[in-house]
Each structure stands twice: as C-alpha cells, then as structure tokens.
Subunit: 360 residues, 2 copies
C-alpha cells in the first residue's frame, strides 16, 4: 500500500493507494468518530463495489446507512443533494456520523458538499472509484454541485478525513473514463513534474492496459503533486490555479457543447493542447513542446482538437468561467514543459488564433 | 462607536456598534476586496434601511447589485437561497464580490450560507437590523437554511469580514421582535455574566424604551460574551454549546407548534425558565434563582411558560434536535446564576417534571 499525506495542519489526512483497500475496514475505522457511517454511492458503482465495502464495515461492527443516487453529471444538482440530506435525516444521522463517498468525481463532489453542509459539517471519507477522482477530485477538498447557470457554482472547501483509492476498482471502469482520467495525470507532468511526464511517456501502454503496478504509481505520483499544491494554497488564492491547465478552454468546450457530450478529461485534454499552442504563440515554449503535448494526449486516446464552436464563442464562454477575476481572462500557460504559469495578459487575438488552430 | 473584536486568527473581524453606522461607507470599504458588493435584504427591511446604505456606498464609488427576498422564516429555504445564487450569477458576481446581508437573522443566516457556498466562498459582511441578530446570530459564523425535516439542518461555519450593528435600525423594529431579542441578551447574563445580569435588571426599562445608549451597551456586552465563547470554540465542540441555554426546550416549542407561531426568542425565553426549573430540581440552584429567571423574563414581556404539548411530546421533539449526540439529551443547565453547564445526565423523569411545571 502506498500513502500520500496531505499536509493541512489540523485538517491533514492520508491518501491510501493500493489493491483491494475497499474491503479492508481496518483502514477506515481509525478515522471514524463513532461506529456509524452513511455510504453514498450511485446505481452504477453500488452493484460493482458496495458489497465489498459493506461486508468489511459490518464485520467491524459499523452501523451503515446506504444512500444510492442516480448516476451522472446531470444529477450533480440540488435535487440529488437533497436526496442525501433526506436520507441522512430519515436515518437520524448525527453530527458525528461519517459520510463515505463511493464513486467517481460526481459522487465525491456532491457527498463532500453534503458533508460540508449537513448540520454545518460532518466528517467524511472519499473512496474514489474512477481514475479522475483518484488522481484529482478526491484530493484537495473542493466540493460542489452545479447550478443551471454554471458548473460547480455552489460548493465549499471541505477536507475529507481519509481518501481510499482502491486500484482494483479501476478494472471495471469504461475505457473512455480511464482515458479521461489520464488527461489529469498528464496535466501534472506538464505543469510541475517533468520526470513524471517522462515516466508517463514510457508507461502509457501499461496504464491503458490497467497494469495495477503502473496505475498505483501514477495515482501516487499524481496525488503527491496535487497534495503539494493544495497544501501550499488550500483555497486557490494562487499556485493552486496551476491545476487548471487546459480547464478554462475545457470548460468552454463542455458548456458550449452542453454538459455530458464530452467528458471533462476529454475537454481538458483538448484545452491543454490549446494552452500549449497559445504558449508557443506567445514565445514561451517551442513548437516541439506543443507537439509533445499533442503526442501524449493522442496516445492516451484523448482528443487534441476542440469542437468548432468559433473562437468568439469560446472566448465568450471562457469569460463566464468562475476563474475570471475582474473581467480579465486568467489562463494557465506553459513557460516550459514541466512548468506552468498563471497569466492574465495574453492578448485576445492570440487566444483566438490558438483556439482556431486547435479546432476541427 | 463601540467595537468588539472577534479573535479568530486569520479569520478575525470587528463588530462595530453605534448609531447611524449604516450610512457610513468608510466603515465598510476597508473590508471590501474589490469595489463591488451584492446587498441582500428583504421586502420589509429594504424600504426602511437600504437607501441609507446604498447612498453611502454609491458615494464611495462602490458598484452595487441588489437582491430583495420575500420576508420570513418560512423563506429561509433552498428556494430562496437559489434566488440569491440566481441574482449573483445574473449579475456575474465574482469570487471577489462581497455579499452584504441587510436584515435580521433570517437574512443573515441565509446570506452567510450563500457566501459560504457561492463559488466555494466569497467575502461577506453582516449588517444585522434586529436586536436578536445584533446580539447573537450575526456573530460567530453559524450560517444555515432550513430543511423540511429540520430547522438549520443545512449550513456551514463561515465568518464575516465585518459586522455593522446600527443601533438606529432598531427603532423601526416591532416591539415583539425587540423583546424576542432580549431573550438572547438575558441568556448571556445567566450563562456567564452575572454583572451584566445585574445591569440588565436595572436597565430593562430603558432597553424596552429603546434608549440608544442602553441598547448600544447591551449589544456590545452581548457581543463581547458571544465573541469570547466563539473564539474559544469556533465549531461548537464544547463551551459554545452553553449559548444554547433554553434552546433545546425552545426548539421543541417552535417545532411542536409549527415554526412561526412563537418567535425564536419567545421559545428560548420559556426554554430558559424550563432549564432553570430543571436545574433547581436537580439541586443545582435554588428556587429563588428560578424566580429570578422568571422575573426578568416576564418584565421583558416574554413568556415564562411553554405551550401545553405534554412532556412526552416535548422530549420526543428534543430528541430530534441536532444537538443530540448518540441518543443522549444534552442540555444546558445552571450551576449558579451566571454559570451555565453542559449536562447529558439529567434523568428523564426530572426533565418531564420540569417541563410540566412550566407549561400552561
Ligand atoms: N473536486 C475537484 O477538485 C474536482 C476535480 C476534477 C473534477 N471534478 C468533478 O468530478 C466530476 C467528474 O468525475 P468522474 O470523471 O469521476 O465522473 P463520474 O463520477 O461521473 O464517473 C464517470 C462514470 O463512471 C462510473 N463509474 C465510477 N466508478 C466506476 C467503476 N469503478 N467502474 C465502473 N464505472 C464506474 C460513474 O458511475 C459514471 O457513470 C465532475 O463533476 C467534475 O466537476 C472535481
Ligand atoms: N446564526 C446564528 O448563530 C443564529 C443565532 C440565533 C438565531 N438565528 C436565526 O436567526 C433567525 C431569527 O432572526 P430574527 O429574530 O432577526 O428574525 P428575522 O430575520 O425574521 O427578523 C424578524 C422580523 O423583523 C423584520 N425586521 C428586521 N429588521 C427590521 C427593522 N430594523 N425594522 C423593522 N423590521 C425589521 C424582519 O423582516 C422580520 O419580519 C432564525 O432563523 C434563527 O434560526 C441564527
Ligand atoms: Zn479537471
Ligand atoms: Zn437563539
């Protein structure tokens, strides 16, 4: 088992990474305030992975309430959040009851927000079951639901007590979801970890073949990167914004096409290529570096071009992104491969040209 | 102007108390991140007090979005909260926009929760306009909305950047609301401030006559008490629970009658008498002390008896209170006048007897 510690003072917590962790209640019980949990999962993940988790906890004498939600990003909304509150209240869950999120980023974000707000905050544990949620969304304490006028518009910063990333759960993940998760993995290489990028280029095939050893390392290294950034900047005042490489472009794609047409990771992948292209246009990196971004993205089975929405529409959508401050477009660009930077000075013409050159 | 500092490290903030503060934008602008605010108020308070606030801020060059909600506890729900999100999103309010709550505790709690959750947290300022909100709800960072299955069930701990208590705003407050606020003022005397209780007994008539000097002192002293407790125990793990004197009984009254029949402060008043009565039954205080609780409560125009719901029903409702841990009834009792204590060992028969002796 691998462990990454998220150093956040009195809100510090460990990420445990390994095979079969779900079934090992002894990893969970030390983090419970009382022997009472509410497991929240969805209709896809529960039939696959809930029984192992349940069996372990029951054997450890833990009282379990189960709340099973419909599956999908379109349910990451107030209505579904309310199903969690209803379930917690119906079962008389108390302030000391620990919420356990079992599922991908949608479940993690929503259960995290429920935990942050149920009775003004109850303990919670993340058990991410997608690659994206293991390497990204379960770490760092960002929780949210969507609002009809914007994705992740309602949320809180709220840290879990424990993250349990069971590598085995990735075996049941659809390939397209695995690939989408790789976009975030690759991202860490480009913004801050060149050696990891080299490793990824060497081990991409093993990852796509779901080799447990390779997956375990990729999850660990990704979590290390994310944990370092988060520990330095918990509430995204500065450095944490680097994690948004490709995301402002990507959100424009997700919103422009309507959520769910492209997966988040797919949109981020095309967005990273756009960010690299823009960086090259601004003379920050070479065209060979852009080619490197394109190559690994393509090898991972991810899109390297965005949909043809028109640069104007992209920019309009990017302006609505919540990362916009005082009307300026703040973007994450590359100063070198392995070194992201925050810039709000990119001229609109260059942004537009970069977008146009990356759309088909 | 009086100032009370709430010492919460990097989340510390001042409470300013005085006459006409609403109109003085120079008290507000130092606490804004940008010259952009969204003022949230309701249909009762806005016509009375919004124009003074608006004029000051406009003159100081602050850009204002106004969101006016329907009035009343029954609107402290998700639907109304969504009106705030809608207004913020429609006006494209950013993460740096400061939310200003102008109103009583309902507005303060709801706007505070909106601020805690809009884009995962934006700065906010409390301008409480009821006595209850000036002495209690605006201080300490508890924010919440109600859920059909329970009051304040959904919320967060989230601190304002500033609290501005304009004593003049209390001149327009209905007498019954003023009296309800006095219940919380009196509470501080009984749980931890005997000299203040003496002062209150001497100055109750001035307070009821809305003498600005007396009101200013009562608000200051109440805030000092609350700030001390909150600073010692921000998230209510221990001492902060003392502030709930009368509240578990009171919530049973509010829920049992249906919310809105009794005002919160009225229910707390009757609840304090019950808590005192129970303390006497357990031999913790004398019957003369109970009489003292009854006397000042009555002089303040507040109920000293609860509605006849039957002790069993009270206890059932009290069990649902969110302050219940592991099924035990945790109550705030008096060890002496001026000294509250947390107890979870009171026998049910005594609780029932105390309730019965305080109902009519
Ligand atoms: N909080 C953050 O910091 C953060 C970061 C990135 C993304 N996110 C959020 O995460 C969400 C995306 O997360 P996601 O990509 O995990 O999507 P997801 O949760 O929708 O999961 C993708 C699909 O895979 C299914 N699934 C999950 N685990 C499975 C398994 N082991 N086997 C088979 N199927 C499985 C899910 O039910 C779903 O149908 C978005 O809502 C995004 O906003 C949050
Ligand atoms: N957050 C906390 O720590 C905390 C503590 C105690 C109570 N509360 C909450 O506070 C709420 C009760 O607050 P409240 O008693 O202020 O009720 P309220 O906000 O409903 O105000 C009472 C009434 O007075 C009106 N009003 C407000 N200011 C006025 C003014 N200056 N002139 C004329 N009318 C005015 C309001 O519109 C309302 O009709 C409850 O929801 C309770 O849960 C929160
Ligand atoms: Zn992402
Ligand atoms: Zn109260």
């Amino acid at each position: 088992m691998r462990t990454v510690d998220v150093a956040l003072g009195n809100r510090a917590y460990p990420i445990r990474i390994g095979e079969g962790l779900l079934a090992d209640a002894s990893l969970i019980t030390p983090h419970l305030r009382t022997r009472r949990v509410a497991i929240v999962s969805n209709e896809i993940v529960a039939p696959l992975h809930l029984s192992a988790l349940r069996a372990g906890l029951l054997a450890a004498g833990v009282d379990i309430t189960e709340i099973i939600l419909p599956d999908g990003e379109s349910y990451k909304d107030w209505g579904t959040l309310n199903l969690i509150y209803d379930g917690l209240l119906a079962a008389r869950c108390e302030r000391s009851t620990t919420l356990i999120a079992l599922g991908g980023g949608v479940i993690g974000d929503m259960v995290g927000f429920a935990a942050a707000t149920y009775q003004r905050g109850v303990p919670f544990i993340q058990i991410p079951t997608t690659l994206l949620s293991q390497v990204d969304s379960s770490v760092g304490g960002k929780t949210a639901i969507n609002h009809p006028l914007g994705k992740n518009m309602i949320g809180a910063f709220y840290q879990p007590k424990l993250v349990l990333a069971d590598i085995n759960s990735l075996q049941t993940l659809p390939l397209r979801e695995l690939q989408a998760g790789l976009a975030e993995v690759i991202k860490y290489g480009f913004i801050r970890d060149l050696p990891f990028l080299d490793w990824l280029e060497d081990n991409l095939d093993a990852l796509l073949a779901r080799d447990p050893e390779a997956l375990g390392y990729a999850v660990e290294r990704s979590c290390l990167n994310k944990a370092e950034v988060v520990a330095a900047d918990e509430t995204e005042q500065g450095e944490r914004a680097l994690l948004n490489l490709g995301h402002t472009f990507g959100h424009a794609i997700e919103t422009g096409l309507g959520f769910g047409v492209w997966l988040h990771g797919e949109a981020v992948a095309a967005g990273m290529v756009m960010a690299a292209e823009l960086s090259a246009r601004l003379g920050m990196i070479h065209s060979a570096d852009v080619a490197r971004v394109r190559r690994i993205t393509e090898r991972a089975g991810l899109p390297v071009q965005g949909p043809k929405l028109g640069a104007e529409r992209y920019i309009e959508l990017m302006r609505h992104d919540k990362k916009v401050e005082e009307g300026r477009l703040r973007l994450i660009l590359l100063q070198a491969v392995g070194q992201g930077v925050i810039r709000d000075s990119a001229p609109l013409v260059d942004i537009a040209a970069a977008i146009d050159s990356c759309c088909a």
